[in-house]
């Protein structure tokens, strides 16, 4: 009977954690907005957004370059290297931009958020905020949450833009695809609502999920060195899986059979 008990306990634990995560999200989203929080949010935007720029730009350029290289070798067999532009742009805007940005964001900013909040808990900073009659949800969680949601779509757009330039670098400047066809076929193929906006919507959803997981894992961590390291790992693993799973669902909804 032991394993039945085990499954039961695990399930109850998971459900309870979901409940706590929901309560935390509610507290962070619906805490009375305060003007004092705006500078805090801007500071967090710097930490999670601006400081993630380097990794996002470098990855974007390389992914764009690799796609142009791979795409060129395949398309050229069919004499279709003119379609390189739309191929690079569509893959980036629809899939790679939002998804890879979310994965990188989870590794770069999400893990940092979890570790930071976990350590604040371990060093009793969260408790002391509460005892100073300052709600940690409003003061610590909410600014980080909003910063994540604002930063990630912007990072995804930057990722896609830089990737398209990287594709240009390899496809046009190196392999000799015609620059005019790279840009003009891209322009005529890419649809604003269907491709660009849907990519941004995806990235907003990923931002919500990744930031939520990162902050909750920190907030709910066991305040020991082991607990925090575990929470940080879980943040990266859970948010990566959630992003990939949700991406399939969103893609099916957005681009699926009509």
């Amino acid at each position: 009977m032991n394993w039945v008990q085990h499954i039961g306990r695990q399930t109850i634990g998971r459900v309870a954690a979901c409940g706590r995560a929901g309560v935390m999200l509610f507290g962070a989203l619906f805490a009375l907005p305060s003007f004092k929080n705006i500078p805090l949010t801007i500071r967090q935007l710097y930490v999670v957004g601006v400081q993630s720029l380097a990794i996002i730009i470098v990855s974007g350029v390389f992914i764009g370059m690799v796609m142009a290289l791979q795409g060129y070798t395949i398309l050229t067999d069919y004499g279709a290297e003119g379609s390189l532009g739309p191929m690079v742009a569509l893959s980036l805007l629809r899939e790679l931009g939002p998804v890879v940005t979310a994965l990188l964001f989870a590794g770069r900013a999400g893990s940092a958020l979890t570790a930071e909040i976990g350590l604040m808990k371990a060093t009793e900073q969260l408790s002391s905020l509460e005892m100073m009659a300052v709600d940690p949800l409003r003061r610590v969680v909410a600014p980080r949450f909003w910063a994540g949601i604002i930063a990630m779509p912007m990072l995804a757009i930057i990722f896609s833009a830089v990737g398209i330039l990287g594709g240009h670098l390899v496809g046009v400047d190196w392999l000799g695809v015609d620059a005019g066809s790279y840009w003009s076929i891209m322009q005529s193929t890419v649809d604003w609502d269907k491709d660009v906006i849907n990519g941004v919507i995806k990235s907003l959803v990923f931002a919500l999920v990744v930031t939520w997981i990162a902050i909750f894992k920190g907030y709910d961590s066991i305040p020991t060195s082991e607990g925090i390291s575990q929470a940080t790992t879980q943040t990266v693993v859970f948010s990566s899986l959630a992003v990939l799973g949700l991406d399939f669902v969103l893609t099916a909804l957005m681009f699926g059979i009509e």
Binding site: K36, T123, E124, Q125, S127, S128, E130, M131, M132, A133, V134, D135, R139
Partner: protein, 266 residues
Amino acid sequence: MDYLVDVNNMTFSRGDRLIYDGISMRVPKGKITAVMGPSGIGKTTLLKLIGGQLEPDHGDVTFAGESIHKMSRKALYKTRRRMSMLFQSGALFTDMSVYDNVAFPLREHTNLSESVIATVVALKLQSVGLRGAAKMMPSELSGGMARRAALARAIALDPDMIMYDEPFAGQDPISMGVLVKLIRELNDALNLTSIVVTHDVTEVLTIADYIYILADKRVIGEGTSQQIQDSDSELVQQFLQGKADGPVPFHYPAESLSSAFLGESD
């Protein structure tokens, strides 16, 4: 006598583990009340129960006549402005300087101008002897200084009560002496009520006006420091004199040695 905090027949458990079994204690206004007990007895938990961060299973905790656990969240936050807690680690915000740490509660809860805040912060830091360290970051402070800086932050809003969580733990004799002096002086000068949770017997006997000793989930002794020293309870005497064995056993409960080694069933 007037009591600020009244813990009434409170029971609290963590998971399956019973921490407090119907304890009652009262904290007189304007005095220093010490709560002593062996480590692991849940002394910090007691402070969190008084501060409303944890809920008791049964019983009640009142602050200035109002039940902490029956008030609304808003009222609780309002009440917390009148109490303050000094955490064992100090719990300074590591991303802010000492000055900003002390200014933090003022900026959060008042609309004072920066120049007034600067004056208040300087005064509070002066009272703990750290005005010269205002620009330092918490990571640059020694343990004793961090605790004093946290104390300056704790009195920034002029609370009615301060709860000290193990203020003497891990301090060298000088910082210990400084902290003892500060706790006594602040209590008298600011007309505070203090609760000191600790297991440093000698320090407590010198500053506390009233002492509670906790062990085994309940209060095993209470009184002024003279009454405690004269107590005829074996448990209290073991604790005061630091005997290794006594009513609190040296061995954590286990099966007998012979059965553990020789595999004999008892």
